[in-house]
Symmetry: C2
Subunit: 363 residues, 2 copies
């Protein structure tokens, strides 16, 4: 894996991340393919809207269908029929957010499946084994995602566990697979700084920031984004995990982050909330009933080129599958296009103007 | 609308139905687009698998979003972004099968919406007005779908009502829209014969047979199919309504029917039952867990070309939207391909061989 920063505009960066399965132009948004599919989308449609990489969830795939099944079917790319890059998380975050019971120990975490209640154990070794079986292009270290709020003492203990696991993940790293470290430390700047220093000592292909957008006030999140970005090595990709509100992304790109993922565009699509160049739109609104116009006149996606607001409202009210499809295509296209234009503005030295234009619309 | 029979093999016919929006090669299967979308499919995908015509349900569209809304959005074709032919039913069948309360009167039927309990009235005039607003290519007369079982007396009274409505529908027929009559008469051959004679006297662009597959034994259904087909005018398309089991279709094509519709391929797809060249397959079966092979090695559809049985099983077990999409694409492709091959066999004088080969697989 090779990362090149091609242009800078103050702190924001336009880069290229080269992998064996293709290049990713940064700042990049990664659609989330939770259980081996980006919900409602076919791989062909993902390519058509220009997705260069997707994220898949190790926790979900480990439980169903199981990483060994996926390995026997030729790995995640063959399984999904998606030949472009895939980043897999380590499974840690879902264990903390989904599993009913969990017990954190020094060598890993015991947890109960949210599907059938069965007991499982995930440690650094297991996290790397599973990600090897999935054969993703970028693997993430297992981390202990510190909850909000946490005392300084708790956050520090949790951070030391994360760092210990990170070291072990590095030890078990897989041939031909990039490995990213994850910065923790809750809202404490000293811990975030310590976290970065220790991770850089271990040495990773990229650095992610986790433990944000877990319930803290937005200003706190923005403070930590601005504090942490400049600490991260400039020659490696910087990935802000799980944050995908476009207003937050503008702040994070401004601070120097390169990679993003979030279920927001796909989940909102299924709930009928659509992102447009004039702000968010709830497609179920009565006023759209006989509206012949496209959802977003400035959008070039399949949905906006072919269907009226009236039809989209009808499909949503009738709970049709095509509603989820057309809405998801639009929201993901809008996101990917937003990131492409953001990248262009950085290259052209126009990022502050881009941000000033879009911040009031997307925030 | 023009109908030409191009080839015959004993009683089976290969024809072409020409409309202003394109030709339909018969025997033809019409996918069902209940509420303004063939469930889980985009119009582009329907074209890709070779659908030449779809059926839409007047009852559903009248209630939601309303035929006037659709008219104001440019008609059903524009609404759905489907430029090929559409056949609309009259709404009668759904009133009988879905609405909670109904009162049949000589001039039409009063019914209660299954959506919100509101009261509505549908007579021959209203049925034609709604179908005009939808701007379908082929409209159906309003008929009284005789339930099974019915006494001869009841079936006869019901038939007379159907014939009276048919006459009125003809009177109110819409410019540029073909109109098909519907044969009723329950399981009584004298009534079916009478029904055909009276309808032919009125004169329609095509003739449909209704009131079958409503609970009667299969042998009875087959008897009526064989009895009725030869009574119908040879120079007009013959449409067997709502029947789409492929075994039944073989019998009906053998008897001389040309057009078919059924929710079976789409509904079964969503429930994980898939049609293949080796018979029906339930995709959830444990044995498919790590199966690398395509669903049907003889199938050329998008699903079979790109995904394994193992992946299709996983999507189904995870209740993913992509499962319904890929399964529907496959089932509809299988159906349309089956009908294309059946047509070819008629042209080549090989229909008996085609039927002998497929009957044991699809029945």
């Amino acid at each position: 894996m090779k990362f090149t920063v091609e242009a800078r505009d103050i702190n924001s960066r336009a880069g290229v991340l080269q992998t064996n399965r293709g290049s990713i132009h940064t700042p990049a948004f990664m659609p989330v393919g939770t259980i081996g599919t980006v919900k409602a989308m076919s791989p062909d449609e993902l390519k058509e809207i220009g997705a260069e990489i997707i994220l898949s969830n190790t926790y979900h795939l480990y439980l169903r269908p199981g990483h060994e099944i996926i390995a026997s079917l030729g790995g995640l790319h063959k399984f999904m029929n998606w030949e472009r890059p895939v980043l897999t998380d380590s499974g840690g975050f879902q264990i903390f957010s989904l599993s009913a019971l969990r017990k954190i120990e020094d060598d890993g975490v015991q947890f109960k499946s949210h599907l059938d209640g069965s007991m499982h154990f995930l440690g650094p070794k297991e996290a790397m084994e599973i990600q090897k079986a999935l054969d993703s292009d970028i693997a993430m270290v297992l981390d202990d995602c510190t909850p909000y709020p946490s005392t300084h003492k708790y956050a520090m203990d949790s951070l030391f566990r994360t760092l210990q696991w990170a070291e072990q993940c590095k030890e078990f790293r897989n041939e031909g697979q990039a490995l990213f470290g994850i910065v923790q430390g809750s809202l404490y700047e000293d811990l975030r700084k310590k976290s970065v220093e220790e991770l850089v000592d271990i040495g990773f292909d990229g650095y992610a920031v986790g433990g944000l957008s877990v319930g803290e006030p937005k200003e706190e999140m923005h403070r930590l984004i601005r504090f942490t970005a400049p600490l991260l090595p400039a020659d490696r990709p910087r990935y802000l995990m799980g944050i995908g509100d476009l207003g937050d992304a503008l702040i994070a790109v401004d601070a120097g982050f390169d990679m993003f993922d979030c279920v927001m565009p796909t989940r909102n699509a299924r709930n009928g909330t659509l992102f447009t160049s004039r702000g968010r739109v709830s497609i179920k609104r009565e006023e759209f009933k006989a509206d012949r116009g496209p959802l977003d006149p400035d959008c070039g996606c399949y949905t906006c080129r072919n269907f009226s607001r009236g039809y989209l409202r009808h499909l949503f009210m009738s709970r049709e599958i095509l509603s989820m499809r057309l809405n998801t295509i639009h929201n993901l296209y809008f996101y990917l296009n937003f990131f492409r234009n953001m990248r262009k503005s950085i290259i052209e030295g126009q990022f502050p103007e881009f941000r000033a234009k879009w911040e009031p619309i997307v925030s």
